[in-house]
């Protein structure tokens, strides 16, 4: 199970990639394997305000429907339109082509993105999936 070291994670099995104040969001390989083949995604359109920990979309697989939670506070600036035609990219390449949406996060006092304090490191996330079996 791959857990790239350069990403941050949430207990809801999402990953975030941080570049300046832009944060890309997807679900982890562990989540994709647990869901099975993804067949439909409902993603927050560009311009939507999202709040960390709040549902902002849905991931539908052959066997289930799951809420998608925003890992950060901010405004959605881009959605991965490739997933509309090929949702299976989420299973095939969860950390690259399977990214879901990008959020612009407000800067804190030092010009860094204001991120929730409880994002997990790769090591912490790996521990979490191991304890979940």
């Amino acid at each position: 199970m791959s857990v790239p070291a350069d990403l941050r994670y949430t207990p809801e099995h999402e990953w975030v990639s941080i570049e300046g104040t832009t944060v890309s969001v997807g679900i982890t390989e562990y989540a994709a394997q647990q869901l099975g083949d993804v067949v439909y995604l409902s993603l927050p359109p560009a311009g939507t305000s999202v709040t960390s920990g709040e549902p902002c979309g849905e991931v539908e697989s052959v066997k289930s429907v799951s809420d998608l939670y925003s890992p950060v506070d901010g405004e959605v600036i881009e959605v991965n339109s490739e997933l509309e035609d090929d949702p299976s990219l989420v299973n095939a390449e969860p950390y690259t082509a399977g990214w879901m949406f990008r959020v612009r996060v407000a800067p804190d006092g030092n010009g860094n993105p204001a991120l929730p304090a409880d994002l997990l490191s790769a090591g912490e996330y790996e521990e979490l999936t191991k304890s979940a079996g």
Binding site: G36, V39, Y40, V65, S88
Partner: protein, 348 residues
């Protein structure tokens, strides 16, 4: 892995979509050892089953199989079954795992007064199914002494598979040609391994419960708990033909089923296709011109058709061409089209 009727079952081995397509194009290997096997043996075994079930089992010839049902006195379906006549005085009743106890106790109770022994033989059998157009070609070299070509659809024969004694039947739940191999539990692993390695070159893959569900849905086959249950008679499910009113003697549920057979319009099972990627799932409402008119019983993406499909019970009149049908998918009305069942029929 998932828990299913008290068994640990593989939901998928890799991708359920790939497993589904492998069964349609080549072959899939299923571990179905959770299914219940109830043995009914003795000079009056056929007569006992005629009374206990809705089918005419005493007319079944040895070596043949029949799809049938067991109903309650009020006509409600207790389970749908495949019955094999292994020999003149020996039948094997295959029940859904969750219903094995109910089927066993009902058949036992209903066989009272007949010269027939009813035993729950579930623990004596493992079941490995090989399904798909390549199934016969993969099984043949491992089934020494068995002429698979002589085993017709819904027939079976005793023989050896990979050197282990088994009942080999040309039955399944996928809409494809294929075989179900009933063997002793200790022989299941060597039989599985022989089929798996023998079939790799032909494109055989192991397939889990998720693929089994989408395969049977495309083939328009009902699943107990979804399309069938104690509140449904075979007639609503479009399977009234399994009820044999002209068989000799009485049978449990006859009166209620006869009344239902001659009653006015009833809700009926219909097929739906959806022009969206969203799936209409079990329990979602169906609407005709915005008014509730039914309920989805099963829904899944159809890998063969490329669109989501569903089965639903619709109220009388809702299935005419003059209605705009939709399914309520978590608050959104998504248009659906009525589609004849089955969604998929293999070319023969």
């Amino acid at each position: 892995m998932t828990s299913f009727a008290g068994w640990q079952m593989p939901l998928r081995y890799a991708s359920e979509t790939a497993e589904h397509l492998a069964v349609r194009r080549a072959a899939g290997l299923f571990d179905l050892s959770h299914m219940g096997e109830i043995a009914v043996a003795g000079p009056q075994a056929g007569a006992a089953l005629d009374y206990a079930l809705v089918g005419n089992l005493s007319a079944l010839r040895p070596g043949r199989a029949r799809y049938t049902m067991i109903c309650a006195e009020d006509g409600g379906v207790l389970d749908d079954l495949v019955v094999y006549r292994l020999d003149e005085d020996e039948f094997l009743v295959i029940a859904n795992a969750a219903n094995t106890d109910v089927v066993f106790s009902s058949v036992l109770e209903r066989s009272a007064g007949h010269d027939a022994r009813v035993t729950d033989a579930t623990g004596d059998y493992a079941l490995v199914a090989i399904q798909g157009p390549a199934a016969a070609g993969i099984l043949a070299p491992l089934a020494g002494g068995l002429d698979l070509g002589a085993i017709r659809y819904y027939a079976g024969a005793f023989g050896e598979v990979a050197g282990h004694r088994a009942w080999v039947a040309r039955t399944g739940y996928t809409g494809e040609d294929g075989f179900e191999v009933f063997c002793r539990p200790e022989d299941a692993v060597p039989i599985w391994e022989a089929l798996a390695s023998g079939g790799t070159g032909a494109g055989l893959v192991p397939a889990g419960l998720a693929a089994r569900d989408t395969l049977r849905l495309e083939a328009g086959m009902p699943l107990y708990g979804n399309e069938l249950g104690p509140d449904v008679t075979p007639f609503e499910a479009g399977l009234g033909r399994v009820v044999k009113f002209d068989k000799p003697g009485e049978f449990v549920g006859r009166e209620a089923l006869a009344a239902r057979a001659s009653s006015g319009p009833i809700r009926r099972l219909a097929g739906l296709t959806i022009q969206s990627r969203r799936i209409a799932r079990h329990g979602y409402p169906v609407l005709a011109d915005g008014e509730a008119c039914g309920t989805v019983t099963s829904g899944a993406p159809s890998p063969t058709l490329g669109v989501p499909i569903a089965m639903a019970y619709l109220e009388p009149g809702a299935d005419g061409d003059d209605h705009e049908l939709a399914v309520g998918i978590r608050g959104t009305q998504v248009p659906v089209q009525l589609t004849d069942l089955p969604f998929y029929r293999r070319r023969t």
